[in-house]
């Protein structure tokens, strides 16, 4: 199991015995309001998923992450985690202040303000998203963010239970769990979809040479037409129950916003899985991409720039059902041509499912289909 990123797991959670005191103190402090996505980011910092960060980025780290894809201490880090505030709020903040952070009117953390600084959104988008096109969802979000960023250290005294509390584990818990299971090597699999046969094939191929599989669906804001979170969970439950050996795979949810930053986000996703304790991370074609902003394998190629990442990527290129081989294959092992290959077409499967029909069993397990069709509205509307 790799060490946490940066050497140790960060823990910025208030000790249980101090929670009531912090709630009382926070009620008397000036407050910064944040949305749910930012709250989740701050929770991820507090529980150590974003180790070695101990709060939203300060200027040196921000500049270094944007320019070099590394924190100022040279540790790999590609997605800036920032707290943005309006000019008006910024004027009321002094460096050295302690402020409360609230979401929906409820304070949940305190921040020791280390510094506040302005940022160049266009340069940021170009570096992080490789585009300034306002059609890109990450660029869109950046454009409406506030003009001032506040960096410092946080302490979190109220954690949300999570959308699926039964599947939400902290990294110290997953590390303990891997140890309990005797898993020295673990492959992390990121997903935003219900599994088709191609996904299962990739997971099992990885599992053939590691001790355990860590299936880690991203839960949170999604695009219209995506599978709903509950459908993703229940379809994975069906797949694991029916098609995996007992104790070979575990399902844990990750609440985190998708940025669609392609290659940069692939590195971020790998770091988070390293903090969970994974030794390997599966990276497919166009990982974390959107539209045609990134090359199909850019999210794999970027790993060449990070030999010091501390988690090994497992790359998959194209996988498909081959009629001649009689099962799922990939382009490294199947000698047959396009005429024998049928790609796993998520869009076609979604269309069939939306009509209440079963995709072909060579494309999706019937048990998985059943789990999806149990829901009247399996897609985000």
């Amino acid at each position: 199991m790799p060490r946490p990123h940066g050497g140790r797991l960060i823990n910025k959670l208030t000790r249980a015995s101090l929670i009531d005191i912090r709630i009382e103190e926070a009620a008397k402090l000036p407050t910064i309001s944040v949305d749910n996505e930012l709250r989740i980011d701050l929770e991820n910092i507090a529980v150590g998923l974003y180790s070695p960060l101990n709060g939203p980025l300060t200027k040196n780290d921000f500049d270094s992450v944007v320019s070099n894809g590394r924190l100022s201490g040279d540790i790999p880090w590609t997605i800036p985690i920032v707290l943005d505030v309006s000019e008006k709020v910024s004027e009321s903040l002094m460096e050295g202040d302690t402020v409360a952070i609230s979401c929906d009117g409820e304070p949940f953390a305190v921040l020791s303000v280390e510094e506040k600084y302005s940022w160049d959104k266009e340069a940021y988008c170009q570096k992080i998203y490789k585009t300034t096109d306002s059609e890109h969802p990450g660029v869109q979000k950046t454009q409406i963010m506030n003009p001032v960023l506040v960096g410092g250290e946080i302490e979190l005294f109220k954690e949300t239970p999570g959308v699926f509390p039964q599947y939400r584990l902290r990294p110290d818990e997953t590390r303990f769990l891997f140890k309990e299971k005797g898993w020295r090597t673990v492959a992390g699999f990121q997903t935003r979809n219900a599994p088709h046969i191609g996904h299962e094939y990739v997971q099992k191929t990885a599992l053939s040479f590691v001790d355990g599989l860590f299936i880690n669906p991203l839960i949170g804001k999604k695009k219209v037409g995506d599978f709903t979170d509950i459908v993703i969970i229940e379809s994975y439950e069906a797949m694991i129950k029916n098609y995996f050996l007992k104790n070979a795979a575990i399902l844990v949810t990750l609440e985190m916003e998708m940025r669609y930053a392609g290659p940069k986000e692939a590195i971020h996703h790998a770091i988070v899985r390293k903090n969970y304790g994974c030794s390997h991370f599966i990276v497919g074609r166009d990982h974390a991409g959107v539209g045609s902003y990134y090359g199909p394998f850019e999210a794999q190629e970027i790993f060449d720039d990070y030999p010091d990442l501390g988690i090994a990527p497992i790359f998959f290129r194209n996988f498909f059902h081959c009629n001649k081989c009689g099962g799922p294959q990939n382009d490294k092992i199947c000698p047959h041509g396009d005429e024998d290959r049928e790609n796993y077409k998520g869009r076609v499967m979604r269309q069939l499912l939306s009509e209440g029909k079963y995709p072909d069993p060579t494309q999706m397990r019937p048990e998985v289909t059943e789990a999806i069709l149990r829901h009247k509205h399996p897609f985000v509307e």
Binding site: I75, E173, K179, P307
Partner: protein, 67 residues
């Protein structure tokens, strides 16, 4: 890992390859790179206090991750 260091001989060719690989990264020496690889191979165990261990074990049991 302990602080006492010992020397290990590896081929010059490999050293040159490592130097090329780590150029421009946070790793400042071949020794550091090799230590990083080996630490991942033989990691230090995360230490939990007895109380933390019991809390985590109980939660994982309750959630059905362990029996």
């Amino acid at each position: 890992m302990g602080e006492e260091k010992v020397s290990v001989m590896i081929s010059k060719e490999l050293v040159e390859k490592v130097e090329e690989k780590i150029a421009g990264t946070s790793i400042t020496s071949v020794e550091e790179y090799i230590e990083l690889l080996l630490e991942n191979e033989f990691p230090e165990e995360t230490e939990y206090t007895a109380e933390e261990e019991e809390l985590i074990r109980e939660r994982l049991r309750r959630l059905g991750y362990i029996e």
